[in-house]
């Protein structure tokens, strides 16, 4: 497309100040923030940013650490749709009234990207009259708000959050959500107890080590051992339990995991130290046991925290449906909560609304955009008798429809179900750490038995203690830290670059991936139509033509009209009328203008020529009996797409295109990006099958996608990316979520993943090297407990320091 490339060459791409996506060519939207004009990519971002600036909250932009999400922009007034939450029955499901008459409500917020969002939300909530308290939990994306129902209503709060670009929904406590909070608390408790225990035991241990060197009375040594014992016992019992249970669980299934040598080391060292305390002989290793437990818990806690920074996991397909619907009851339209709909009810679907349930159209002609299911951005025309599906958007006129069933029976629920099924089918690549563990445990047991045998022959009275010190010194602390330390640092580094790592082992899988599969609409392309070419038919210049077309498009909310949204429309057009499936007609100074399909224009101008080619989506423009122009629309390819694909290929990946789109555009796009394998017209199930087929041949597949229809395939791929603008369901399934609008981050992530794998290998090499040097010394009986403690800490520190290099 010559026009698009030309415009790009002229103006260097600007990033939208609000959401970080590139400002499309031809868009010139600006908002003054903190005294400086900042570029905006779309009317949605502009609306949110102006609201933030107008309320004096522009501090938000200085404090935030991640770009905001690109808000949906609709011409329709959204405030109305929240009225339904004022209904007491619905409000009761997520709010309660206290004795002083204040209402407490919990809302789930979509679109929370960083801690500054909590500030912005808390600030703007406090500015609403009647709100007495607003607290946001970033980890749960949850707002707890307390307000006086006489001064403000729930719908005001919802509308305010919506206008700030967040997607508020009632917060429903779910089992998974409660479990995650409980797990977080348990982890913290274990960590806290292990930390305090480590300090106590460490204090006694220093006295004991000093006593070993300088000499100390036996009764004081016994005292220190006896007080260390209960503290260490509690730490082992309470904090180290997950290691024991995990090792045992895997052992029963015949799997040797990293937890096994960890549990062995902790258990044996503790048992031996207890024995030594009771008999007053040998050596105690309580400090090593407790320190080891603390280090490992800390590493795992940090690793999990990095991954849980953003919990999209509880966003499911159902939450994308509107909470309120207009239902026909007693000859009137009343707003009712969606969950109250029953089969047979009649609902009103207004233009621009998301269809709330699967329903059969009974009145009206309209069009629904079904990119949810097939990724196509041109809508399907529907008339009486046709079925519309929950989750699609009505882009035509208002429709009346008869409800076919509740959410569970809908096509959307089936999609969600296939996502859940796909999750269980995700192949689990053997982790490097666990393979290392099984290798290590075998060797360790061999060395230990050899040591015991030799010392039994040489000096039977020393054999027990020397064998034990071999086990303790080989304590695989550095080995167990090698993976979580590297993963945490890599994930942190990626987060600073705008990639959120969510999936477990996703970095490891990505470093081994052989195939890169891409979705088309919304992933390789911007996901919206834009003006690609203008062919004037009658002397008028390009700008004049486009302004006239923009004026006509104002009368429609068809996706095509969004391509013109950023233009200043010509004035003077009246009596605009949108004819479904045809085009738009309007009057200016008594002259009829039309824009739309060739047939529609030919009704006025019989000699309207054929569109210039088949490649673009063409709409005609005519005035009176004059043909004015053909305007070609296209879904713009993201400017960096070609670069990304070339680099992926250089890195040795096979690149494929998987798209739900059936048009030939996919083929042209693939040709222009030099992608050889293209699968068109794919249902979500077919996409999944393709990935599984590849996995069956031993390939490790990375998938990039954005839509609801990509969610199943994202969850089954070994590593998956959700691109900017992805739906909540897609985000919740992806291992990596890219914020800001740059596909090049896929390549960056890939590099980081490979680097991370290299660092993990180095860590293992070091940890094993340390063990190989230390074990013979221990086997010969040269290692004192203090030397063992220092050696262990040093080798662990080295592993952590090496992993820190990933942060750069």
């Amino acid at each position: 497309m010559p026009v698009a490339t030309e415009a790009l060459a002229l103006a260097p791409p600007l990033a939208c100040y609000h959401c970080g996506e590139l400002v499309p060519p031809g868009v010139d939207l600006r908002v003054v923030i903190g005294g400086t004009e900042q570029p905006m990519c779309c009317p949605g971002c502009r609306a949110v940013a102006s609201l933030i600036a107008a309320n004096g909250l522009d501090n938000f932009y200085r404090q935030r650490t991640a770009y905001s999400e690109r808000p949906q922009y609709t011409e329709v007034d959204t405030a109305d749709q929240f009225r339904v939450y004022d209904d007491a029955r619905l409000a009761d499901t997520f709010s309660s009234t206290d004795t002083e008459g204040l209402v407490h409500a919990s809302l789930l917020l979509g679109g929370m990207t960083c801690a500054a969002c909590t500030w912005l939300v808390e600030q703007s909530m406090a500015a609403i009259r009647g709100v007495t308290q607003a607290l946001v939990s970033l980890q749960q994306a949850r707002l707890d708000i307390q307000f006086d129902p006489d001064q403000c209503r729930l719908s005001d709060i919802f509308a305010r959050l919506d206008s700030l670009g967040y997607r508020p929904r009632p917060f429903q406590t779910s089992a998974a959500r409660q479990q995650s909070t409980a797990e977080h608390r348990t982890d913290l408790r274990r960590l806290a107890v292990a930390g305090l225990g480590m300090m106590q035991v460490g204090m006694f241990a220093i006295a004991l080590h000093a006593g070993d060197i300088q000499g100390m009375e036996a009764r004081y040594q016994a005292l220190l051992r006896w007080v260390s014992l209960p503290v260490a016992a509690f730490v082992v019992y309470y904090c180290a339990r997950p290691f024991f249970s995990s090792a045992w669980r895997h052992l029963r299934q015949g799997a040797l995991v990293m937890d096994l040598p960890v549990a062995l080391a902790i258990g044996l060292a503790f048992a031996a130290s207890t024995w030594a305390t009771f008999t007053g002989t040998g050596q105690v290793y309580f400090d090593s046991v407790v320190m080891f437990t603390f280090f490992l818990l800390l590493a795992r806690f940090l690793e999990r925290r990095v991954r849980q920074r953003q919990m999209f996991a509880w966003l499911d397909a159902e939450s994308s449906l509107p909470g309120a619907v207009n239902m026909r009851r007693d000859e009137r339209w009343v707003a009712v909560p969606r969950i109250q709909l029953r089969a047979g009810d009649t609902v009103l679907l207004k233009p621009g609304e998301t269809v709330p349930v699967d329903a059969e159209v009974t009145w009206g002609n309209g069009a629904v955009q079904e990119d949810t299911f097939n990724g196509e951005h041109l809508p399907r025309s529907v008339a009486s008798g046709d079925t519309v599906y929950a989750g699609t958007v009505n882009v035509g006129d208002a429709l009346q429809a008869r409800v076919l069933g509740d959410y569970c029976d809908s096509r959307l629920a089936a999609l969600q179900l296939s996502v859940e099924v796909a999750q269980t089918k995700k192949p689990r690549l053997a982790q490097l750490a666990d393979r290392m563990a099984s290798w290590f445990v075998g060797r360790l047991l061999l060395v230990t038995s050899a040591t015991a045998a030799i010392w039994l022959y040489l000096a039977p009275e020393k054999a027990f203690w020397i064998t034990l010190s071999v086990l303790v010194i080989s304590c695989p602390c550095a080995l167990a830290l090698a993976t979580p330390a590297a993963l945490t640092n890599a994930a942190n580094a990626l987060r600073a670059r705008g990639v959120i790592v969510r999936g477990e082992n996703a970095l490891e899988s990505l470093s081994k991936c052989t195939h890169l599969l891409l979705d088309k609409t919304g992933t390789l392309t911007e996901g919206a139509l834009s003006i690609a070419r203008v062919v004037p038919l009658e002397g008028m210049d390009r700008e004049e033509l486009l302004d006239a077309a923009a004026a006509l498009q104002q009368f429609s909310n068809h996706p095509v009209s969004r391509a013109f949204a950023s233009r200043t429309a010509a004035r003077g057009f009246t009596q605009g009328e949108h004819r479904l499936g045809a085009g738009i007609e309007a009057q200016r100074a008594g002259v009829t203008y039309r824009t739309g399909s060739a047939e529609f224009c030919r009704e006025l101008v019989p000699a309207f020529p054929d569109p210039p080619d088949e490649d673009l989506y063409w709409i005609g423009l005519c005035r009176g009996d004059t043909a004015l122009a053909w305007i070609g629309l296209d879904d713009t390819v993201r400017p960096e797409a070609a670069d990304v694909i070339a680099q992926a290929r250089q890195l040795g990946l096979e690149v494929e295109l998987l798209t739900g789109d059936s048009s030939t555009q996919a083929l042209r796009l693939a040709a222009s990006l030099a992608i050889e394998t293209v699968h068109r017209n794919q249902t979500p199930q077919q996409k999944m099958a393709r990935v599984q087929a590849l996995q069956g041949t031993g390939a490790v597949v990375a998938m990039v996608g954005d839509g609801l229809n990509d969610a199943p395939v994202l969850s089954v791929a070994d590593a998956s990316f959700a691109v900017p603008g992805a739906t909540d369901l897609a985000r919740s399934q992806a291992d990596f979520v890219i914020s800001g609008g740059d596909l090049r981050k896929i390549i960056e992530t890939l590099h980081k993943a490979r680097h991370c794998r290299a660092v993990i290998r180095q860590n293992f090499t070091w940890a094993l090297g340390y063990n190989i040097c230390a074990i013979p010394l221990a086997a010969m009986g040269y290692v004192q407990p203090w030397a063992a403690a220092i050696g262990m800490s040093l080798s662990s520190l080295l592993v952590v320091a090496n992993s820190l290099r990933l942060n750069r």
Partner: protein, 67 residues
């Protein structure tokens, strides 16, 4: 040195108290959102007032007077 027999148990009692306190704080949800609290201390004072004030939130000093 015999004071050790008294001092060490006292230290252990304090340790138990500290652990109990910490467990209580965790259980009451004070550590549920580590990200926000870490960030909040760096934010303007308004952030903490916002959650407690019942009146119109005071605006940040830097803004509000903009064009």
């Amino acid at each position: 040195m015999d004071s050790l027999y008294l001092l060490i148990p006292i230290a252990l009692v304090f340790c138990v108290i500290a652990i109990r306190l910490l467990l209580w704080a965790i259980g009451s949800g004070q550590y549920d959102d580590l990200d926000k609290e870490a960030w909040r201390i760096l934010a303007d004072d308004d952030a903490s007032e916002a959650s407690s004030s019942s009146e119109q939130g005071r605006r940040p000093p830097a803004a509000g007077d903009g064009p």
